[in-house]
């Protein structure tokens, strides 16, 4: 079956612009995660959705970052007034629901965002 997909694969924008990054999780996965991966670093947690609600958004760096998941499936990460420091690969992952640590997170290929 299809894995997690993310679009676009690459996004180049200018400082100050607004961008939207899309994630399509694996069908049936109610848990969805966004991470940010800077060059040479491990993924850094941004936000976690359980269904339609953001259960934990403590990793969002500031109020320029916002994410939605209105129907409990596709999610969009929105970044306002982009800054050069926002340049990174944004990863999305999904998993089955529940608190079990054995619910594997499946990652998408990421969106590489470059802010000029």
């Amino acid at each position: 079956g299809a894995g997690v997909s993310q679009t676009p694969s690459n996004k180049v924008t200018e400082k100050g612009k607004y961008v939207e990054l899309r994630c399509d999780p694996i069908s049936g996965h109610t848990a969805l995660y966004w991470y940010r991966q800077s060059l040479g670093q491990g993924p850094e947690f941004l936000i976690y959705f359980q269904g339609t609600g953001a259960a934990d958004d403590s990793g969002l760096p500031n109020d320029r970052f916002f994410a939605v998941r209105p129907e409990g499936s596709v999610s969009t990460l929105k970044i306002q007034r982009t800054e050069r420091g926002d340049s990174a690969v944004y990863l999305c992952a999904s998993s089955l629901a529940g608190p079990s640590s054995m619910n594997e997170q499946f990652f998408g290929p990421g969106t590489r965002l470059t802010v000029l």
């Binding site: 040479g40 491990g42 850094e44 998993s95 998408g108 290929p109």
Partner: protein
């Protein structure tokens, strides 16, 4: 403040050799320790994981060794192959959360020479 520290940053191993990557953590509440493998242009993929109630877990050529008292865990890749060349990340999660809020290490870029 990095919750999980990983070393080395890069590693070169000859084909057939053993690759060893180390991670250390401070938060004793962590209770799940996965290793992820990432190829260029791809997202990380789960390789193997361990919980602190065991000291070792082996799956094929991949073994995790866990030292709870030292708060360290390591990945051993036996009989390393050129296809193993990738970036490896260790991670840890905290059961206080009702989901896997992973803290990742900074990654180790492994190059296995033919």
């Amino acid at each position: 403040q990095q919750q999980v520290k990983q070393s080395p940053q890069s590693l070169i191993v000859q084909k057939g050799g053993i690759s060893i990557i180390n991670c250390a953590y401070e938060n004793t509440a962590f209770d799940y320790f996965p290793w992820y493998q990432q190829f260029p242009g791809k997202g990380p993929a789960l390789l193997i994981a361990i919980r602190p109630d065991v000291s070792e877990k082996k799956e094929g050529r991949f073994t995790i060794s866990f030292n709870k008292s030292a708060k360290q865990f390591s990945l051993h890749i036996m009989d390393s192959q050129p296809g193993d060349s990738a970036t490896y990340f260790c991670a840890a999660s905290n059961p206080l959360y009702n989901f896997n809020k992973f803290y990742f290490g900074s990654g180790t870029k492994l190059n296995v020479k033919p």
